[in-house]
């Protein structure tokens, strides 16, 4: 085929998607976004509504009557600030540890030369399915490991997850070719060196994904505080909100007067917004790792 200027230009336009296709795509995404956003805006709107007006008029995105009463319960005392602090601390520490330890575990699993490969894969897999249940776990955590009522109770149990490790292993396998590693080994680089200088930079997309999952897990977790923490000063955000709400619900059953005052429905929505908000702000930071082209092939020669 004769190659000349014209050929190239024609090819280029055939190789990108057409104008029409772009428009269709955007229409699709706009509809998609509306379907996702409408309920979310509705939830936000409800959180700022007056409870009685909801009984009268039903749910509206723009409240018939504005009110902050849904937020009253959460912000009643300054305790929520402490809960935010604990949450941020445990999330940051937990996420960093989680990504690090899981990457350290996943890398050897991705190397065929690792002698313990099959063993350690099965080792982690087995317990992801089989568990002794809540009671033995609780006993181990409190009696054996003395994690009861400590900050580390919020961090340690959630660090390792088999699912995440497998995802990381797959990412490493796809992004870091064997030849590269061999080349580095021959050059005399130690395993740790390979790990730090080569594997981690190339696996940024995977690490960002697992980092996101870990972050969300720590941020939203309320199982760990409920089981292991009794001290109010160590409650994290999600648990703090849940517990003040559940407390009111229980008291209402016994006919307690204070409890009757709280607008239950609207408060639920407010709590959801409170937890949701910060994540939305942080997420764009992770997004840049999901953009194609971040990882450029670097097999030299």
């Amino acid at each position: 085929m004769t190659i000349n200027k014209n050929t190239k230009i024609r090819r280029a336009s055939e190789l990108e998607i057409s104008r029409l296709e772009t428009i269709i795509l955007h229409i699709f995404f706009i509809l998609f976004s509306i379907s996702m956003l409408y309920p979310v805006f509705l939830a936000v709107g409800i959180s700022f509504s007056d409870q009685n007006s909801i009984i009268e008029h039903g749910y509206r995105i723009i409240p018939v009557k504005w009110s902050l009463e849904g937020y009253k319960l959460a912000f009643k005392s300054g305790e929520i600030l402490n809960a935010y602090k604990i949450t941020i601390l445990s999330t940051v520490i937990g996420t960093v540890l989680s990504v690090l330890i899981q990457m350290l575990y996943a890398y050897p699993l991705s190397r065929k030369s690792f002698k313990g490969r099959k063993f350690f894969t099965f080792y982690a897999y087995f317990v992801s399915l089989f568990s002794g249940g809540m009671v033995p776990w609780y006993i181990v955590c409190t009696k054996l490991l003395h994690l009861g009522n400590s900050f580390w109770a919020l961090v340690l149990p959630s660090i390792f997850g088999f699912f995440n490790v497998v995802i990381l292993r797959t990412f490493i396998k796809s992004n870091v070719p064997d030849e590269m590693i061999e080349a580095a080994r021959i050059d005399g680089c130690s395993e740790m060196g390979i790990f730090w200088k080569m594997v981690m930079p190339l696996s940024k997309a995977g690490m960002a994904t697992i980092g996101l999952f870990a972050m969300l897990n720590y941020w939203n977790n309320y199982y760990l505080p409920m089981m292991l923490i009794h001290d109010k000063s160590l409650f994290n955000l999600q648990y703090y909100l849940q517990i003040i709400f559940l407390n009111i619900e229980e008291l209402a059953k016994y006919g307690n007067a204070d409890a009757a005052d709280i607008p239950r429905e609207v408060t639920r929505f407010a709590m959801c917004v409170i937890t949701m908000g910060p994540i939305i702000l942080v997420y764009p930071f992770f997004q840049k790792y999901f953009v194609k082209g971040m990882v450029v092939g670097s097999v030299k020669g």
Partner: protein, 501 residues
Amino acid sequence: MIKLKKLLSLGIAAAMLLGAAACTGGKENKVSDGDDESQPYEIVWLFPVAPPNDLDAVCEKANEYLKDKINVTLKLTPLDWGAYGTKKNNALNGGEKMDLLWLAGGDYTYAAMQQSIIDIDELMDKYAPKTKEMLGEDFINGARVDGKLYGVQANKDKAANYMIVYRKDIAEKYNLDMSGVKTIEDLYPVFDTLLEKEPNMVPMAISGGKTVYDANFCLNGYDSLCGNKYVCVMTGENDDVSKVVCPYETELFKKSCEQAREMYQRGYFFKDCAVLDNSAELIKSGKAFCYWEQDQPSKLSEINNSSDYEWDKVQMTDASMSTLDCVGSVTTIPYTCENPVRVMKFIELFNTDPYLNNLINFGIEDVHFNKVSDNTIKLTEKGKKDYDLQGTMWERGNTFINYTIEGDDPNKAENLEAFNESAKPSPVLGFVLDTEEYSIEATACSNVVSEYLRTLTYGAGDPEELLPKFISKLKSAKIDTIVEISQRQYDEWREGNNGNE
């Protein structure tokens, strides 16, 4: 490397064993006879309340007082209401050291049967005689499991009766005569007028435990056998008290469902009541006219205090005392307690000493509350912020020696006393079912009940069609086995109790 793998596998097996060994809870149940009061002892007390900020300060003050009396230090351990169920189960299952644990209803009887809490008959006779006298024999018998007492009940309301609470202002506006209402049918003409005149209002707000079915059974008389979902004993005039029945198989239940259906179709209930439980919101926002409620002395004034509207009531039943009422609030001693004798001494002190009792319930005088008169107090700002136990005095000991809070009915204590005296004990008082025996059948039946009960009792489905299905499904889930086992246990208990009838 095979050797390495073997080594690792052995290591894991060892770890599992180690972990398993750590899981040994379990302790021999020893109630030491002697007690050396010169040895200090720490009492850990678990009960449900949101932990207040000044907990330590109050404990310290209490400890000062207690040191001279019985040489104990108190470690109050309130746990949030919302998580109490889970946390106390964890504490029990995990074998944590506790001395006093608050339990109620089915939790109490279950823990008793599992021997997770200790039998206190002897202890109480020896070290807490005044408490025993104050509670009364009938009341105590109501909390016996297999003839033994497993906890110290709180001295509060000992019975239950029921009323219909209705909007006084609406009734006056339309001249609705509520005084003649004795049964649910009597309400029909009232509701019809209401629907005509105020179409935006919901005549009756119903919710779990407060439906036509519950009302009819209360009006007839029945003992719920401590809140059991599957069997009960009917105690009305025309009923055979020696029979345990499944409530859903009775004529009365059928009639209740038909009634509920009629009321639903006439528009007396909120249309989506079976789907969305918004009765509390309806009541609060003024859209509901009336509802069925458990009554207690001063309950009506409490309702009026916390509502924007004016309410009045119609008394529907007389006060009766059933097992459920007796175990509404019990302070027990778990098996992990190391010195039950000292603990029992503490209970006696707590129930008879107003200073100690009110210190723990309300905080430090002049810091958390101020005395308005001899027996009335008002919480200070600091008290509301840092030591507000939210009116849960009934969890602990003797409500009769509590101070009254300003604004509450000053005659509350006397009214309560009179109320308790007037209560008629149920013929089944003191009988507790061992639900373990049919726990497998209960699992299946529970799902069937969840499937049909709400729809039927709220009138949202046609009983002609649904009730037979419900009953036949219960039968395949072996409800008959449950009834048989319960009947057998009941017969045994009745024989053993022949003296008491």
